[in-house]
Amino acid sequence: MIEFKLLGIGVLSWMVFLPVLGMIVLLLMPKSAEKYLKYITVGFTSVLVLLAIVMMTIYDPSKAGINSLAGFQFVEKLNWIDIPAYLWDGRIKIEYFLGVDGISFPMVLLTALISFIGAIASFSVKRNEKGYYTMYLFLVSGMMGVFVALDFFLFFVFWEIMLLPMYFLIGIWGGERREYAAIKFFLYTFFGSAFILVVMIGLYFSSKDPETGLHTFNMLTLMDPRTLPADSLFGMLNETWRLLAFVSLFIGFAIKVPAFPFHTWLPDAHVEAPTAISVILAGVLLKMGTYGMLRISWSIFPDGAKYFMVPIAIIAAINIIYGALCAMAQKDFKKLIAYSSISHMGYVMLGMASLTAIGISGAVFQMFNHGTITAVLFLSVGVIYDRAHTRGLNDFGGLANKMPKYFAVLIVAFFASIGLPGLSAFISETFIFIGGFTNHFIRVVAIISMLGIILNAAYILWTIQRLFFGTLPEKWNGLTDISARELISTVPLLVIVVVLGIFPSYMLDLMKSSVNLLVNFIWGIN
């Protein structure tokens, strides 16, 4: 089993709790050190990136993970809460159980990367920096935790924890309607997690660990059919209850994705949130929903995944097309991007609904790509907004000559997001479509959702035209081109996009074996 410890503490714990350490450091900073806070934050996040890179070098792609503990890497497993039964069958055993496999590792990389980028992008924040960066690091640790937790309870805790800083980050440092957006976001997700909680508890009491004969929150054990006795609530024979559980889990995660019709929080949250937070939101948070589906719904309720694949695919198609159409009608740059990411998350769901290895690897890959690309897009929105203090697409025009570097950056990002070949998103989208095709149940849906390709192109090109082409309005003569800091935050992502577009294997090899195992597991092939 691959391990990597620093000072006797596993690297994943470092990844999760280093930001917390950073929080403490920030809080201890005196008032006078106000101006160094941002650098401290960047420092801590950059350490995360370094750790991630080191992990990448150690990581062994041949290990699959999913439902075999042996397949997980950097595993840490301690008892957190362990209460032996006293009067009633009240034994609760919760483990501090971290580990990564081919599905979570790309997400960990993404989180580290985006957190770092977001930290750089946060420099424009001027008000109450201490609070901001503290919350920011808190958020980072929460997100990281979600991706590495392998104990359902732990997962849920991180899942919920992450809401609090997000609420404040949107609510305090956001735009005019920030309060509305923040509370909307919080309530939606809280509502969703209520469903997750119910299923979690239900699973716990249905489960019976084959080894110890006790209830368990351990996701790996829960995947084992022997863990859920036939007579129990979510037992294998208890068809209806299992499907209900799947649905409520799906609702819980779909709100985060966000899937139609639970998506209305996203435009508000995005528009109101400060740039860096939009980046995090679109770059990482949305992935938590789809990741949760793969890690929990798909793995623990494969029957549900099979039963509902058509409805899910249809929802995905609605996301794709509906999101694109909404984006087309937007006049606010940021809102447009927000809707576009609804559309792109639709691709992810389509790939997952296909239940084929190619589709799911497409989905995971698309999660990563969407993370990087949308990050760039939101950063670019921030760039223009910081200068012009407006996001109205119709207020602009002719920026191409005024801000050539910006034009270059943004055009690459735009074409990446319409899935232009040679850029990463193309590979993932193609895989997703192949997956959708391969599964003949959802083939029609896949064909319909190919309409999305055209619509994406339409609104993106229209946006390019409105922003860059034509003649520059008088009032924007003062605009300066994209600055070095902004280039630092965007260019690395674009490099990744291009490189992964040409050599996708770098990413695909990481997830290959896990995805294959997952699919085999779902279809019961061994």
Partner: protein, 677 residues
Amino acid sequence: MEFALQKLPVIVLLIPMFSFLVLAFFGNKIPRGGDWLATTLLFINLAFSGLILFAFGTAGRYEMNVEWMDLGGAIPGAAKFLAGFQIDALTAVMLVVVNAISAFVHLYSVKYMEGDAKYKKYFSYLGLFTFSMLGLVLTNSILLMYVFWELVGLSSYLLIGFWYENKAPQEAAKKAFIVNRIGDAGFLLGILIIFLTIGTFTFTDIFAGVEAGKLAGGTLTAAGILLFCGAVGKSAQFPLHVWLPDAMEGPTPVSALIHAATMVAAGVYLVARIFVMLSADALTVVTFIGVITAFISATIALTQNDIKKVLAYSTISQLGYMIMAIGVGAYSYGFFHLVTHAFFKACLFLTAGSVIVGMHHIQDIREMGGLRKKMPITFYTFLMATLAISGVPLTSGFLSKDAILASTLAFAGVNGGITIIVPILAFGVAGLTAFYMFRLLIITFLGEPKNQEKFDHCHESPAQMTIPLIILAVLSFFAFFSLNPFSADSGWFLNMVSMPESILAGTKGAIYHILPLEEFKEHLHHAHNTAMILSLAISGIGILTAFVFYYWKKVNVDKLTDSIKPLYNFSLNKWYFDELYDKTAVAFTMGISRLSAWVDNKIVDGIVNGAATVTRGFSKYTGLFDNIFVDGLVNLTGGIVGAFGLLFRKFQTGKIQTYIAFLVFGILILYFVFRVF
């Protein structure tokens, strides 16, 4: 040597990429923005590709693969994605054509684009285009072909919208990209079908799979037609031809390179590439699409007054010819026409460019006239190309066109019935082509100058522009393709590019409508002479009428047009295709998008806000709504909570005795409820 040769295609592919990167990133550092670099590199590339042509043209095909992606034991099957290139006659020829024209256009542009604000950007774009075009030609995997296909689309987008300060180029660029995208969606769909059924992307394996019958019947036809959709988009075939005329908003050399010679030919190349796996029905579709396109655009070209528009429509029409040719099974002739057309159409565009420069960016031919005296070289090159396109003997155009016409006759002869319409339209188009091309020539170069002062300032273009013209004009002589001026069959070209055996031949498939091949050849042989005579006659008539109308003015054209006003307008307005699409597809999409945005605000969010709106009236008179609104209570829970909350609040009257009353009431209720249980 052999080894080097096999690596050569890669080098040929990478050279333009190199020039693109260098110019894109260091354009500012290099003197003159590195135009000289790009141009020289392209000429080197041309030399290389010539070498390749000699090496592989006759020596059969060579293929090379590297593994691109591997998904392990993925479901279904083992998903491996190969990347590689192949060289056979088609590729080799295409390489030469692309490189040649690209090189000439580079040279030409040095003067033409001189002093433009985005000069170096222009050359880098050219490099990008050439790279992707070569990639498209070279690759052996249909997926990679799609990749380069899109990249070509991108560079075309960038070049059409090169002068994006103005409205028209923006719109044209967007239109081009989206219309192509529509075709490409079909293309991708076809690719996916193939992958699902055969599980590979490389052409050889695909053909093998088809031969093994993994993909047959309706699915095969569907796949073929879907792939053809891509061609329809790129080669501007009906009904997706609308983008090409607008694309003329780009710089003229670009039009010559991309929208006349190479990119638009990509569709034809694709059809040629997959010819062997096209089923009969697919081929029929191809044929008819081709011929319809050819006819429609020819009729439109009759009345256009913008010199580039006329050429654009003639391009579409010629592309239709090629497609049709392949459709009727004259595979090699179609491809032959592609090559010849590439040269003389490039020549035409470049001459048009020099005319435009000469006339200081006047494009309306009604302002021109009598330019022959002012710019002789331009005139004679133009004349040469015009003769070629009109299919006058001793020109390359004659060779290819004549062969195509002959095979349409043969096609009709074999199948009979309705298919007779194909040759009829084909010949009609030949005549129309001759007519409108000479109309253009006469109005532009002969007669009296209409716009005197423009005419006075007009002058011949410099050498950098005229040299390519001359070369291209010369290249449209028959001699370069066949020593026999009346038939190219014995020429080196057709010896090299011979019709492949359809892999479906055995299985009653593909080109069964020209099977047995002998019979087809037979018909072809007989048709040849008739075709030659007919075509000569028809184009002669065309040319003659042109002279009658516009040179000798024997017929009053205006009166004539008045007498057929509706028809005239119909043609002038391009059959109202744009209007149609605007009214239908575009309007529909925009409508839907606005609708859904509205829905998203009002309904979906509204369902969420629903109860809130329900309670709004309720809350108004309590005067609390604003407060609640501010507090972000505006969504479903909010609404219901609000409603019930308000309801319950009514109980809290502040009068203690009311409370006691409620207490007693509660006790009673509870009692009755649990008596009922």
